[in-house]
């Protein structure tokens, strides 16, 4: 059984059908890059997987947790998959440490000392142990994004969804975040990432998904997708990248 099973998922915003039947199975430990033109539905697909968007039909399952619109099912699903956003979305009124502790204490009812120990461990993992008491506005974008990753990891998810996690960063800060993601991949974390970093996708990912007009247009190992694109749409897309 796959870790993430996406079956014939359709999603419309009003009359605009954005996902037109997506099928995708992700095995444990896989690192998947999702690429495609703006508006092709990449973000929408990720957001459907953890229930930030409600799907019109089809089914999504993560490690046995079925996507359903009620809070109980959503919580069970969201405990299995974490999400990292382009805009970090750290809680501005909490320190880095408190950002990582909050959901452990609220959602899992972890006692404070354990939550704090976990927070220190996760911040250390992203290289920010020394920023435990810093507030988000005292951190650089790259540091904020690493705290966001630590915050998601502290919930011990089985997979992480990453939506253009380096797009809001200054170029010189991109690498420090990618390095953390790369390390997660090496440790066996299952990753589904929308990215424009083609080099990174080629080096780190096990499979690349090319989305086009709401469909998985082409899928395969990076060598195939980048080296021998089958469809003119993918060739054109890759050609347009620098």
């Amino acid at each position: 059984m796959s870790l993430i099973e996406i079956t014939d998922v359709r999603k419309s915003f009003g009359a605009n059908e954005v996902l037109k039947g997506i099928d995708l199975n992700v095995e444990p430990g896989e690192v998947i890059a999702i690429i495609g033109k703006s508006g092709s539905g990449k973000s929408t697909l990720l957001r459907c997987i953890n229930g930030l968007e409600t799907i019109n039909s089809g089914s999504i399952q993560v490690a046995g947790a079925q996507l359903a619109p009620d809070e109980l099912h959503l919580k069970a699903l969201r405990l299995k998959v974490g999400m990292i956003f382009q805009s970090f979305n750290l809680f501005p009124h909490k320190t880095a440490g408190q950002n990582v502790m909050l959901s452990q204490m609220v959602v899992k009812k972890t006692p404070k000392p354990e939550a704090e120990a976990m927070a220190r461990k996760m911040l250390e993992r992203v290289g920010l142990a020394h920023k435990f008491d810093a507030y988000p506005d005292e951190l650089s974008g790259g540091q904020q994004q690493r705290v966001a990753i630590a915050r998601a990891l502290a919930m011990q998810p089985m997979a992480l969804l990453c939506d253009e996690v380096t797009s809001a960063l200054d170029p010189e800060l991109v690498q420090e975040v990618l390095a953390v993601v790369k390390e997660l991949a090496a440790e066996g974390m299952t990753l589904l990432m929308v990215t424009h970093e083609m080099r990174f996708a080629r080096d780190v990912c096990s499979r690349v998904v090319f989305m086009h007009m709401g469909r998985v247009h082409e899928i395969g190992p990076p060598a195939e997708v980048f080296g021998a694109p089958k469809t003119p749409e993918l060739r054109q897309f890759l050609g347009a990248q620098h």
Partner: protein
């Protein structure tokens, strides 16, 4: 211009004034605490609550914001007893203030919630928090921080507006001033003293609210 100021009555009546000040302070502190709590609950209901609750809260808010406080006070003190609800003057005054502030602060807090980016909600949800938990732990404090100056002003307005509760013989500061001038016939001086005390109370209250802000919001900047 031959008016001679006479403050000798202060020696006999300072106790009355003090009692009035204490009543006004108590009404303000309890009324503001309960009123803002009601306002936060209503703001939650109106922006994030169940669909059936929204029109009910909206009706309450519009009803209160579009009628005079004095009429609301009279309704509670003179109207409710005919429905069998008995209240002391102070209880009626407090209830009127809570209901009034609840409606105004609802709209103020709601603006703070709306100014909070969708990303904050989504971050909370995607970590497994329920909608309510996300509101409570993620959204509420930054939302309050954004509107704290406006909310503080509204609380001061309610404190000053509480002067009208003397109309139902709740023995607050303005009741004391009325009482003193009717006994001493020094109306000018009585109201000058009352005015200065209200001014001092308002300044004190603003400082207190600033202090509460410092405790509540560890971070100066809100996004």
């Amino acid at each position: 211009m031959g008016y001679v100021f006479d403050y000798s009555w202060l020696a006999d009546y300072w106790g009355v004034l003090l009692k009035g000040v204490l009543v006004t302070a108590e009404l303000t502190l309890v009324g503001a605490t309960l009123g803002v709590s009601l306002g936060v609950a209503c703001a939650w209901a109106r922006s994030l609550g169940p669909r059936w609750l929204k029109p009910i809260v909206a009706t309450y808010v519009e009803l209160i914001r579009n009628t005079p406080f004095l009429i609301q006070l009279f309704f509670i003190f003179f109207g409710l007893p005919s429905l069998g609800v008995q209240m002391s003057e102070i209880q009626a005054a407090l209830l009127a203030m809570v209901i009034n502030l609840g409606a105004y602060s609802c709209e103020i807090v709601r603006a703070g919630i709306q100014a909070t980016g969708q990303g904050q909600f989504e971050a909370g949800w995607s970590l497994g928090m329920t909608r309510f938990e996300t509101f409570r732990y993620v959204v509420l404090i930054p939302a309050l921080q954004k509107i704290w100056p406006a909310l503080s002003s509204q609380i001061v307005i309610v404190m000053l507006g509480s002067a009208v509760v003397s109309q139902i013989a709740a023995e607050d500061l303005s009741f004391a001033a009325n009482f003193i001038q009717s006994r001493t016939f020094r109306a000018f001086e009585s109201y000058i003293v009352a005015t200065l005390i209200y001014l001092a109370l308002a300044i004190l209250l603003r400082q207190l609210l600033r202090g509460v802000g410092f405790v509540l919001f560890p971070r100066r900047s809100g996004r």
